[in-house]
Symmetry: C2
Subunit: 224 residues, 2 copies
Amino acid sequence: MSPRRTVRSARAPRPTRAPEATREKLLAAAFEEIFRNGYQAASIDSILADTGLTKGALYHHFADKAALGYAVVDEVVRRLTLQRWTGALENGGADSLTALQNVVRNVAAESALRPELVELGCPLNNLTQEMSPLDEKFRSRLSSTFDLWTGAFADALQRGRDEGSVRPDVDPRRSADFIVSCIEGTFGLAKSAKSLRILRSNLELLIDYLEGLRARGPSPSPLP
Amino acid sequence: MSPRRTVRSARAPRPTRAPEATREKLLAAAFEEIFRNGYQAASIDSILADTGLTKGALYHHFADKAALGYAVVDEVVRRLTLQRWTGALENGGADSLTALQNVVRNVAAESALRPELVELGCPLNNLTQEMSPLDEKFRSRLSSTFDLWTGAFADALQRGRDEGSVRPDVDPRRSADFIVSCIEGTFGLAKSAKSLRILRSNLELLIDYLEGLRARGPSPSPLP
DNA sequence: CCGCTGACATACTGATTGGTATGTAACCGA
DNA sequence: TCGGTTACATACCAATCAGTATGTCAGCGG
């Protein structure tokens, strides 16, 4: 009867000790707080108030505030970024360039439903602008996340070249950097103007730009 | 002889009381501190230490930290942004599109000489990402600065259409937003990677993109 | 020459910050 | 069942924060 009873064998949904769940709760709250206020202005006390936990819990799982921030990048921001921008790149029957355009289209559609995307922007971009010049460990983690993102786009462009959907004079890596820059800048400008219209307009122009990378003459059989 | 002597009529270069110069010194130091650390992490005490002034001086010229931040945007960030990006748009004998490309080229050349541009990025962008969601007065000031920037680019593109250097199907406002987004995103990615190479590569691709906006057939006389 | 006001300097405050020291209960192997 | 380790909670601390109250001196109008 008493909820404080501990059942030995059966796994209750809320066991009295669940360190991994506690850690995840801290990470999620920290991400939310950092996303809204930035890392430096993120308050430990506020994170703990959100979770209902205490400093004992936090400093048991993380050495200090910096370690918490690093973990947020490694385990939350990275995952969110990759699943949003690289998750749907490889499946589907379309060519690589069209897949890339569809990813952009999907984000445009998603942003219409989630106003936080236009209000708060991209968490990866936010953290980068704030922390890159101030903390090298932050910078390297954020930069490597960008590398995964641009790398995935570069791979897609390279596959597009191989399959004939992308012009052979396109440099996959340089173009990938350029495209990601356009995306991040777009979120920044839309956030500044609080304008979903700018966000969607820019993403449309980006899709047009991608269309400009498409190989002209349809070469149905690249190598006979 | 004594430097403390006060000459009544002649304006000495360093009069004992120079409120305007004091204000400017505070603004400059505040901009530097905010540029390096962000607004929220900018320390009033640190700004004062840089200037050699005290709180009495600061709170005599500015009501509070927010007012200081607003003044930095209005009087420093805006001026820097406009002089860098819109200053050289209207002169020169070239067509408007070429002038736009030259502005981008000049910044690329400038960034090679000033490493702070790639390390710290664009002050307008930094402040926007940090403060737009947190403070509406910040956001409106930053957003209006972006409007001046994109407006100048849109005007240039419109002039290009009028003079025949820009394709008539180009929407000046939408394209201006897109171009500025590319620029800001480029500074962000370069800052993340600490890479002057990425900065220059992206600006080159942007110049190529602008070239794509050029009207095909040279119409020497738009209206005979 | 007097007195008022502008232009600061000095010293202080309460709140908030990240971090720590200590206490304690749950869990697990022996 | 016992002892040690894990997983927290509580209470506290020094430092830093923005902001304020007060003091003081320069300059100028009268």
